[in-house]
Each structure stands twice: as structure tokens, then as C-alpha cells.
């Protein structure tokens, strides 16, 4: 059939952003957590908890802002749990993170199934949520042909995600508290010796990071139109976010790029055949690639990037030196 070339490309670009922004929230949140020297593998579960509480409370209050706030708080509470267990009680970070995933998904289904049995809030009935989540075109930029609608006509949570990532980059690299945080992640003993409160720094940033993940989960719920089924909304995005942290080299600004590179390959699966049909001479080959390969592609790309980043010299790596190691003051 004759395809509208312009609209195929535009919807491809639009989809890259719309479906992959939760990865940015997850990745940015995890970067903040890891910069404090804590490896939190519970992203998937934390996003699920943020999603379910954010969605329900946002609907009942009929306010997107309440939803975002509750999602943040719910995520931050998971972060608090993680902090108490790993920072204060010195539990193994890997195990605690994995447990948090199981716990978070359990809470998600427990609350969701319970509420569905008694009366699920249908997103379409809450006008403020619908209006709040609808697209807001950026004046001027959204008028650019081809790119305008694809990149500059999105809901506020997309812009918020980008803003959080940029602000975090500034915070980590240009401010004193950001410098202190990085010091704690690199060498908590040294940071402690110059008077930085290691425990407080870790608690604060783990909670904020997890809160950001929670907002990402809320976004997923809204993007799924709040339709609760036997699958979790997060759908594995939390795990991809953990990998994207390494992809982004612990740099929140790079996380934006990483999200869209990953999103590009992720979305090829959806739009590949349309692009092939619209541009048969140039992109015709996309139509012959089997779905299975499209499904695997983002993960193949991730694997390649992980190999490349691990070859890269240690000097340029953003990996916090004390990542994953609990800091026990008495052992200094």
C-alpha cells in the first residue's frame, strides 16, 4: 500500500520517546543511587510500587501532580527500606536489591488485584489526569517539519524526565553536595575523614533516586492507560535501566542519549515494516528481518555496549570505586 512517508517517520520518532522515557527515569534514579556507592538491583520492583500507588492515588485525587508526588514518595519509601537494610544493617546490596524486586512486584499485584476485585479506577474517567497526560507542544520547536511532532510534542512527564536528567548532571558535576556525593561513592572512608556524613548522604540520595524511579513507574501506568492485567506495567524496563546505567557511564546526560539509542532499536520492532514499506529502496531490508531478531536487537546492542565500555580504560569510567561495598565505620 502507499504509505504517508512523513507520518511514518514522525510516528517512529514519537514512539521512540513515548515508550522509552520510563527507562530514563529508571536510569537517572539508579545513577544517583549508585553514585552514593550503593548498587540497587530493585529498580523493577520500585518502579512497580511507584506505578501502582501513584496511579491509584492520582486517580482518586484526580490530579496528575498528586500522582507524581505519591509515586515519588512510594519509590522513596522503598529506597528507605533499602537504605535501612544495606546502610544501617549492612545487608548484602545485591541480595537486598533482588529481594526488593520480588517485594515490589508482589505489592503491585496484591494492591492491584485487590482493588480490581472491588472497583478499579478507569483512567478515562478522570479528566484532570487525561488532560495532564495529554501532549503539550513546545511553541516554535514543534513546528519543525518531520522532527517537530516526533520530538517536541509530548506529555509533561517526558519533559520532566529530561529536566531531571539534566538537573542531575549539573548537580553531580557543578555543585558541592554533588561533589560530596561522588566522594562518598568513590571512597567513603576518605569522605568520612573530611567530615562528610556518609550515612546521611547515602540515605538521602538512595531515597531520592528511588523516588525518581517511582515516577518512571507511574509514567508506565499512565502510558498503559491504567489498564490493569495479569502482566506488570513495568514489563522488564527496570532491568534494562540497570544496564543503561553502565551504557551511560554513570552520567545522567549520557543517560538521555542511551535511552534514545536503546529506544531506537526497541521501536524498530514496531515500526520496521512500516519504514520498509514507506522507503522500499533504502529501508526495504527492514521488512525482511524476522520479529525474533527485532526482539533481541536492543539486548544485543546492550551487550555490545557493555563489552565496549568494559574495554574502555579505567580512567574515563564513571564507575564509583566503592560501588556495592557496604561502608562500616568501625572497620576504617
Amino acid at each position: 500500500m502507499e504509505m504517508d512517508k512523513l507520518s511514518v517517520v514522525t510516528s517512529f520518532l514519537h514512539n521512540i520517546v513515548v515508550y522509552n522515557i520510563p527507562l530514563l527515569y529508571g536510569t537517572a534514579g539508579e545513577i544517583l543511587v549508585e553514585k552514593s556507592g550503593s548498587l540497587n538491583l530493585g529498580v523493577e520492583g520500585i518502579m512497580a510500587v511507584g506505578a501502582i500507588f501513584g496511579y491509584i492515588c492520582g486517580c482518586y485525587a484526580n490530579s496528575l501532580l498528586v500522582g507524581i508526588a505519591v509515586a515519588f514518595l512510594a519509590g522513596a519509601l522503598c529506597g528507605l527500606l533499602f537504605s535501612v537494610l544495606t546502610v544501617t544493617l549492612q545487608a548484602n546490596q545485591n541480595i537486598t536489591g533482588l529481594t526488593l524486586t520480588t517485594f515490589g512486584l508482589g505489592v503491585y499485584f496484591f494492591v492491584g488485584n485487590g482493588l480490581k476485585a472491588s472497583g478499579w479506577p478507569v483512567m478515562g474517567n478522570f479528566s484532570n489526569i487525561m488532560a495532564g497526560f495529554s501532549n503539550v507542544a513546545i511553541p516554535g520547536l514543534s513546528k519543525i517539519p518531520l522532527l517537530g511532532h516526533g520530538l517536541f510534542n509530548h506529555n509533561v512527564l517526558v519533559y520532566l524526565g529530561i529536566a531531571i536528567a539534566v538537573a542531575m548532571w549539573w548537580y553531580l558535576n557543578k555543585t558541592t553536595p554533588g561533589l560530596r556525593l561522588r566522594a562518598v561513592g568513590e571512597n567513603p572512608a576518605a569522605a568520612d575523614s573530611v567530615g562528610i556524613n556518609v550515612t546521611w548522604t547515602k540515605y538521602l540520595h538512595i531515597c531520592i533516586g528511588c523516588g525518581i524511579m517511582g515516577i518512571g513507574g507511574y509514567y508506565m501506568g499512565l502510558n498503559m492507560s491504567g489498564s490493569f492485567n495479569s502482566n506488570c506495567w513495568i514489563n522488564g524496563y527496570g532491568w534494562i535501566a540497570v544496564a543503561l546505567v553502565i551504557f551511560a557511564n554513570w552520567n545522567p546526560a549520557m543517560a538521555i542519549l542511551g535511552t534514545f539509542v536503546f529506544g531506537f532499536f526497541n521501536t524498530l520492532r514496531v515500526s520496521g515494516s512500516s519504514l520498509a514499506a514507506a522507503f522500499p529502496s533504502v529501508l526495504g531490508f527492514l521488512g525482511d528481518i524476522p520479529t525474533q531478531l527485532y526482539q533481541a536487537l536492543p539486548f544485543i546492542i546492550t551487550a555490545i555496549v557493555l563489552v565496549v565500555t568494559s574495554i574502555r580504560s579505567r580512567k574515563s569510567s564513571g564507575l564509583p570505586a566503592a560501588l556495592g561495598i557496604n561502608y562500616f565505620r568501625e572497620e576504617r
Partner: protein, 415 residues
């Protein structure tokens, strides 16, 4: 002396176990079965607490059937849920249920097939009934599935008439799988033939998820079919209502699957092809009671492969919404009667022509594929002979519809 004592004690233990086993096995069958004494076991792929999806549909069917028969679901139903499609896990679930003393075990997922076969041989006193599979024996092991393609044909009519009303011949279909499973291929074909009966110029664009449950992409695929392929009606073979919600957001229409999706997308949904699982579960439980002993179950059922359709009420379409085009109800009713009476079926050399006023006429015409088939993992192997059934010919065999249908009919394009 100690060694001998230990040996004796071990012997006593073993003998004791054997004795227990024998009494246990005999006890469950000698007294006749009734609705009050029948114990039902179920093995689910997902959680029994689900509120939507495949396991939910089966669980609702089993509990509804038990209530129809006046049974107590608290005391007479035993469930092992979240059992993956691995032989050892399924066999362990079977052992648990047999330990609970159940008379009949329903396994709902296709991948349980080998374990169910093995268990049926191991426990001849228990009935094994396997959903969507194809294995069975002559006594205590059967399989069950339904003619979903008949319901899909009816939904296709609603979609076809709607496409005529919209003046848009493009119809989209979000599919969990395509020609790699006969279940999905026959569903797509049934739907497509229904669409074409109402709108002969319609083109059906199918997008393959390659996954039985992938909510995020179910939505993304539907949006892609609407935006890039300009589809005005979206049908689906997947669990979630995302394609219907996407249709509503975009201002187009759709046909759901598994359950009535009108509440999910009141402005877009036309009708859904649905399963009434309780119809089979009730039939099977009644047969189990009537048979008395497990070895007579298949004989009581009359067949080892239950394959119910519109006639049995096993599949159907959900009530038509007000979004449907004019005369949809009239056309669907007429075709339903043709199928139920046995006068006509979907995959035959006779095609139906549905006029805009809803009248149905029959016309001899060959059933043709779109020229490709799925073979050895390759989706696009050209077919030498695209004619599947000659004009006026009899229906494709049931075994093909459930097991080997690996092509899509003419007018369907996989994108």
C-alpha cells in the same frame, strides 16, 4: 543385630507405604461419584488471583461450572497455580493434586502436554483433561479446545460492515503469533473471511508480536497499524485490551478477544470473540460423575478431543455495542444460524456474501491462501498451490484447523 533390626523396620515402612498407597487409590473410586463428592483439581499457568487474562478466564469457567452443578468451590476445588511449562513442575503439581484426592485434573496450558500424558499413565484412577493440546488416550486422558474461528468470523462481519461504513478498507490485527501456530492462523483466517464476506475489498494487515503476553507492544502495534497503515478497525489475538484502548484514543474502532472489551473502550469496541469455558468444564465434570471411574471418562465424553463451537455455546461473540454499523446484528444472527445448523462452516469452498442490508447469500468460491506458508521456522515459504479448498469443496479438516494450518488466506498481509 542392629542391622537386622534396621532392615526389618525399613521393610515394615516400605510395606506400610505400599499398603497406604493401595487403600488411597482404591478409596477414591469404589463409591460412586456425585456432584457432592467429585473433587476437581486445576493446574494454572498464572495466578488464580488474576483479575484478567488467560488463567482468569479458565478459573472463572471452572468455578462457574461448579456453581452450576451445585458444588462447593471452597472444599471441592484444589488448585496449583503459577506452574511453568516444565515437565517436572507439572508432575509435582499433579502429585500434589492426587495427594488431595482429586478425581479430575484440568491442565490449562499447551506446554503441559507431555507431563499430562505421563501422569495419565501413572495415575489411571484420575482423569486428566488438557486444554489446547492434541494428545489423549482411550480411557482417562482427553484434550479440549474450541472453534474460536467461528466466533472470529462473526466478529469479522462486524468489522467488515464497519469498514464499509467508514469507507476505509484497511483493517488491522494485532496477533500474538501468526502462521507458526494453527490456533492463531485459524483465528486470523476466520476473522479475515468474515471481514471479506461483508467487504470484499478489505485488506487485513497483521502484526506479529511473537509473544503471548506483551502489553506494551500490544498497544504500540495497534497504534502503528492505525497511524502508518491507516487502519479503521483493529482486531486482536492477545489478552489485554490495549489495542482497543489505542483504537479509542485514535478515534477508530476495534474487535476484542477473550472477554467483552466494551467497558475498556466504550467508544471504539464493536464486539469480541469470546470463550465460555464453563460450557466445557461443566460437560467434563458431568461426564466424570456419570462415568464413575476414570477409565470410562473418554467413552462417556464420546471423544478424546472435545472441540466445541458456536453450536455448543463454547465460543460466541459478546453483545454488539452501539458502535456497530447498521444491520450488523441481523447479518451475524443469520450466519450464526447457518453455522449452528451445520449447513455451512467457515473454511469451506462456499463463501458468504453479506449485503449492506444484512442479507446473506452463499456462493461457491475456492478458499485461497495468500501464497505463503510457515515451514521449518521460515514464515515466507511460497506455496505451490494457493487453492486450499476448491470451489464448492468440503471444509478443511478439524485436525488441520487445530494442528497444521500454517498459511493465511488471500487478502491478509503480514507486516
Amino acid at each position: 543385630m542392629k542391622k537386622i533390626l534396621a532392615l526389618v523396620m525399613a521393610m515394615v515402612l516400605v510395606l506400610g507405604l505400599v499398603a497406604c498407597g493401595e487403600t488411597g487409590a482404591a478409596g477414591s473410586n469404589e463409591e460412586g461419584l456425585s456432584a457432592q463428592t467429585l473433587k476437581v483439581g486445576a493446574i494454572y499457568i498464572n495466578s488464580k488471583n488474576d483479575t484478567a487474562g488467560y488463567t482468569f478466564a479458565h478459573h472463572s469457567g471452572i468455578t462457574a461450572a461448579m456453581k452450576e452443578l451445585g458444588m462447593d468451590t471452597e472444599k471441592q476445588l484444589f488448585i496449583v497455580d503459577e506452574v511453568p511449562e516444565k515437565k517436572d513442575d507439572v508432575l509435582a503439581a499433579v502429585d500434589t493434586l492426587v495427594g488431595n484426592g482429586v478425581n479430575i485434573i484440568f491442565g490449562i496450558s499447551f506446554g503441559y502436554i507431555d507431563a499430562m500424558e505421563e501422569a495419565a499413565a501413572e495415575y489411571p484412577n484420575v482423569i486428566f483433561s488438557h486444554g489446547t493440546g492434541y494428545k489423549s488416550n482411550e480411557t482417562n486422558f482427553n484434550n479440549y479446545f474450541g472453534r474460536a474461528y467461528q466466533a472470529r468470523y462473526l466478529a469479522g462481519i462486524a468489522a467488515g460492515l464497519k469498514s464499509l461504513e467508514l469507507g476505509n478498507n484497511n483493517v488491522g490485527y494485532v496477533a500474538a503469533h501468526t502462521t507458526d501456530y494453527a490456533e492463531t492462523a485459524s483465528g486470523i483466517n476466520g476473522f479475515a473471511l468474515g471481514v471479506q464476506a461483508a467487504n470484499p475489498n478489505a485488506k487485513i494487515y497483521v502484526k506479529n508480536l511473537n509473544n503471548w503476553a506483551d502489553e506494551v507492544n500490544e498497544k504500540a502495534y495497534a497504534e502503528e497499524l492505525i497511524n502508518s497503515y491507516n487502519c479503521g478497525v483493529i482486531s486482536q489475538h492477545c489478552d489485554s485490551a490495549q489495542p482497543q484502548i489505542a483504537a479509542q484514543t485514535a478515534g477508530v474502532f476495534g474487535c476484542g478477544y477473550n472477554s467483552d472489551m466494551t467497558p475498556d473502550a466504550p467508544k471504539a469496541h464493536l464486539t469480541a470473540a469470546i470463550w465460555n469455558w464453563n460450557v466445557y468444564y461443566r460437560t467434563a465434570m458431568e461426564a466424570a460423575i456419570k462415568a464413575g471411574t476414570a477409565d470410562k471418562f473418554v467413552a462417556t465424553m464420546g471423544t478424546s478431543a472435545y472441540y466445541g463451537g458456536l453450536k455448543e455455546g463454547f465460543v460466541d461473540v459478546s453483545p454488539l455495542s452501539e458502535n456497530c454499523a447498521e444491520n450488523t446484528d441481523k447479518a451475524i444472527k443469520a450466519v450464526k444460524e447457518l453455522i449452528i445448523s451445520g449447513e455451512w462452516d467457515v473454511f469451506t469452498g462456499v463463501k458468504l456474501e453479506i449485503a449492506a442490508d444484512g442479507t446473506v447469500t452463499q456462493k461457491d468460491a475456492a478458499l485461497e491462501s495468500n501464497g505463503f506458508q510457515h515451514k521449518d521456522g521460515d514464515f515466507k515459504v511460497p506455496m505451490e498451490n494457493v487453492e486450499v479448498v476448491a470451489a464448492g469443496g468440503a471444509s478443511v479438516e478439524d485436525g488441520v484447523i487445530t494442528g497444521t494450518m500454517n498459511y493465511l488466506v488471500a487478502g491478509v498481509e503480514e507486516v
